[in-house]
């Protein structure tokens, strides 16, 4: 995305410099694996090479989901996933006047921002009635929708794609939606999620379902073969977590976990408390813990929204303490939120020291007082400020909290 918009070059988005692999004694081979033979502990590649392994880690990632609709194979229909997609977009952008994006998740929004940066008119179809509707509440979606529309994106909520029309030469001409409308466009961006990439595992004896099935040590059913990242599917995920979590840090954590196991310290995969983040054009979003906007049982929600700016804080809580934070336009400190959720701190206590969790830059406007005020207005309970949020205080808080349970 940032390469397309001219923020960075291709070499800038590669996380390691070229010397990294050799220096760390990693033999980096660029090839396509075609076969695994667990009984011989070998893999074969498209170029005809064979490799022996002691331990094998499958980390093949995911591929974009597609829809089974007419016209899906036309030229001009693309996802945004691999470098090839980026190159494809780059090559098509010059002639591009109008594009339709399908899907209201993060990738959809990123695609919209990308095309928008080149002054290409974007119509955005979202099946639900708001962006990221499984994690954002109605009010939060409202803030995001408004912001995105403000940028000039033609947003169509509660709308699905039915059919893609051919222009007679095998390319996209328009898109037909569930509202019966025909939207003219030269590009259709499919951003409806990803699924584990497993096609090539057939015949290897490795058990798969949606993804490669693993136990809590990330081992597959075949000895000495692990699976991590977007392609892995946990047989017994922790409560509140999903079996497949295609998100950046789970891959990182899984990698660390397996590395430990292979190096002799058998380690369980324990992702801990869920967190996530995104950026919807200019609005930063972060979430920690259980932030389901649809409440169950004894859960309640406290919500504060800035009068004008696109900023809000939502805290999900029960009488036994806070369970989740969802923030738009305000940066929160992960380890503090994590601690509060972990220790089941009561919401009044959390709000009293909310400054500890604020991660906005120095001199930024402070909203904690306003947030406490809103709580007073909503519940009649007055909360007094107990923290200033300076680094030393945060550090002491974390140290103390940690010492109580480790």
């Amino acid at each position: 995305m940032y390469v397309y918009m001219g923020h960075m070059r291709w070499q800038d988005i590669i996380p390691y410099e070229a010397w990294f692999w050799e220096k760390n004694k990693i033999n980096l081979v660029k090839d396509l694996v075609t076969k695994i033979e667990p009984q011989h502990k070998t893999i074969s590649t498209a170029s005809g090479a064979h490799y022996q392994y002691d331990q094998l880690i499958i980390a093949t990632g995911s591929s974009p989901k597609t829809l089974n609709i007419e016209g899906i194979n036309l030229d001009g229909v693309t996802g945004l996933h691999a470098i090839q997609d980026l190159a494809y977009l780059e090559s098509r952008s010059k002639q591009l006047k109008k594009a339709v994006i399908v899907g209201g998740g993060l990738i959809g929004v990123e695609l919209a921002e990308m095309l928008h940066s080149r002054k290409i008119a974007v119509t955005h179809l979202v099946r639900e009635n708001g962006f990221a509707s499984s994690v954002l509440s109605k009010e939060e979606s409202g803030i995001v929708n408004q912001h995105i529309e403000h940028h000039g994106i033609d947003l169509r909520l509660d709308t699905e794609i039915i059919k893609i029309q051919d222009n007679g030469q095998g390319s996209v001409a328009s898109v037909t939606t569930t509202t019966g409308e025909d939207i003219e466009c030269q590009l259709v961006g499919m951003a409806i999620g990803v699924k584990p990439k497993l096609t090539w595992l057939g015949g290897s004896g490795i058990e798969v379902n949606i993804g490669v099935l693993t136990d809590v040590f990330l081992k597959t059913n075949v000895p000495d073969i692990f699976a991590i990242g977007d392609c892995a599917e946990l047989r017994n995920p922790d409560a509140g977590r999903k079996a497949v979590e295609p998100i950046w840090y789970t891959g990182r954590m899984m990698g660390e976990t397996v590395a430990k196991t292979i190096c002799g310290i058998e380690t369980k995969y324990q992702p801990g408390i869920w967190f996530n983040s995104a950026k919807f054009f200019d609005i930063e979003y972060q979430s920690y813990g259980d932030i389901n906007p649809i409440l169950s049982g004894n859960q309640s929600i406290f919500f504060w929204k800035h009068k004008i700016a696109s900023k809000s804080i939502r805290i999900n809580y029960t009488l036994n303490g806070v369970i989740g934070f969802s923030a738009l336009g305000i940066r929160l400190r992960q380890n503090v939120c994590h601690q509060w959720i972990h220790d089941k701190i009561m919401i009044e206590e959390v709000l009293a020291q909310f400054e500890l969790a604020v991660f906005d830059a120095e001199f930024s406007k402070k909203y904690a007082d306003k947030i406490r005020n809103a709580y007073f207005e909503q519940t009649g309970k007055l909360i007094l400020k107990k923290a200033n949020g300076r680094y030393d205080q945060v550090y002491r808080f974390l140290k103390k909290a940690k010492s109580t349970y480790t």
């Binding site: 940032y2 001219g6 410099e17 229909v77 996802g79 499919m190 972060q286 680094y391 550090y395």
Partner: protein, 450 residues
């Protein structure tokens, strides 16, 4: 969906939106101003001064107007769209022309001031045009340094305005930029000039040794010592800055209190240099070169100053095989003029805005050593939120590979960090924060408590 397994990867971003009609108008005004200036230089009379004034005003209006129109529609929140596709900021032809032009100006300024019109028997050309202003401020004809000072200050003020527009939603950036604009205008320009008018010893009170490498030169010390109470105050102040004020401030805030809030070199880099910040090389190799060079210059500066002070006290100019007069001349030529001026600013469009600050400044070296080992400052990483996108490393003007630390959940404590805060501003996921803390001063670099 169509896949292109062997699609030739044309990933270099090529798109630029061009500039709008209003922006073209502002640029045109700037060029008219520029040519008015050129005409003014070619012949002096009252029309010349008038033309020059008009030229400077037009250029100022042009830069300010352009900045406002460029960021007018942008919401607060930083966008670096097209940075790598514009010829000005991707080492394209425009940046080479600009680099040659600035380098040329600096060479004239340092080595051929006569070509700019400097003359004992009455200035001509460019410098002559500044005589009226100089006479008005300090009752003396202008010289090349006066002209330079005017241009330098104007550049910081005008591009400061542009910076303020670009980072409009970010109060850290706003306050910091107003600070460098203030220190340049008042401390570097107005106060010294006014002191000169009052026939007092003049000094840029914020310009510290060893950046101000001639602080201990005999002529400078003599000037201060013979300058009455004010002179002695300045001498004391200069030494207090080095020994007391700077260490204390650096302990509390890191070297940023100087490098990105006060310093003139830093001020220019942060304002006029901002469009080039991403050109700093952030490879490991560059970091190695940086450490050798900057500490090499520091050693050179210490040695040179030691010899100069020795000569001042003992009146001997030769120590072993070293001649203190020769050494100071070498230092002035290579470090003072070529490195900090010609290369330091001239190479902005090619090597990023902080070439001098990063590879050469002995002052930055000292502050950096203290920052690394004895300061409360660090950049905190927010747990596991880093997505390894690379914006922070790309836009670090000091070429620090911020991402390397951030993606490991590690805090960042680097000698070179000037605390400009841009990494935190461009991060899309709220991962970085500049903070001062005392409780863990000696374990700042350890991996975040999780």
């Amino acid at each position: 969906m169509i896949r292109f397994p062997d699609y030739s990867l044309s990933l270099t971003p090529t798109y630029t939106p061009g500039i709008s009609l209003t922006q073209k108008l502002w640029v045109t005004i700037g060029f008219i101003g520029f040519f008015a200036g050129v005409i003014a230089i070619s012949g002096y009379d009252h029309a010349g001064v008038f033309l020059l004034t008009a030229s400077l005003i037009l250029i100022s209006i042009s830069i300010a107007g352009f900045s406002f129109s460029l960021y007018h529609h942008q919401k607060s929140g930083i966008k670096n769209n097209y940075t790598w596709s514009r010829s000005l900021s991707n080492r394209g032809i425009v940046s080479w022309v600009l680099a040659l032009w600035i380098t040329g100006l600096y060479i004239l300024l340092y080595f051929f001031p006569n070509a700019l019109g400097l003359s004992e028997s009455g200035n001509t050309g460019l410098i002559r045009l500044f005589d009226p202003l100089s006479e008005w401020i300090k009752h003396k004809p202008a010289n090349q340094w006066f002209v330079y000072g005017v241009f330098y200050t104007l550049a910081i003020l005008l591009f400061g305005v542009k910076f303020l527009r670009k980072y409009k939603g970010n109060r850290y950036q706003q306050i910091r930029t107003v600070s460098v604009m203030f220190f340049q205008l008042c401390f570097a320009f107005l106060i010294p000039e006014i002191l000169e008018r009052l026939n007092q010893p003049s000094m840029d009170l914020k310009n510290m040794w060893p950046l101000n490498y001639y602080f201990f030169f005999d002529w400078h010390l003599d000037k201060l010592r013979s300058g009455g109470t004010l002179g002695l105050f300045m001498l004391g102040w200069g030494i207090a800055m080095i020994l007391i004020i700077s260490p204390i401030l650096t302990y509390f805030f890191g070297k940023r209190w100087y490098c990105s809030w006060v310093c003139g070199c830093g001020g220019l880099a942060e304002t006029a240099g901002d469009p080039f910040r991403h050109l700093s090389d952030n490879s490991l190799k560059a970091w190695k070169i940086e450490r050798w060079l900057i500490h090499g210059v520091l050693v050179f500066a210490l040695l040179m100053t030691g010899l100069v002070v020795y000569t001042y006290i003992t009146a001997h100019s030769n120590i072993l095989f070293l001649n203190s007069y020769a050494i100071r001349e070498w230092y002035g030529f290579f470090i003072g003029a070529i490195f900090s001026g010609v290369i330091g600013v001239g190479f902005y469009p090619l090597m990023g805005s902080r070439v001098w600050c990063r590879f050469g400044c002995p002052m930055a070296a000292i502050l950096g050593l203290q920052q690394r080992f004895f300061s409360r400052f660090r950049i905190t990483t927010n747990g596991g939120q880093c997505i390894s996108c690379g914006n922070c490393s790309t836009y670090c003007e000091m070429g620090i590979d911020v991402r390397h630390y951030a993606q490991r959940g590690q805090n960042i404590v680097r000698a070179s960090c000037v605390g400009c805060g841009i990494c935190a501003s461009v991060c899309p996921r709220g991962v970085l924060k500049l903070e001062n803390g005392q409780v863990d001063l000696f374990e700042r670099t350890e991996v975040n408590i999780k």
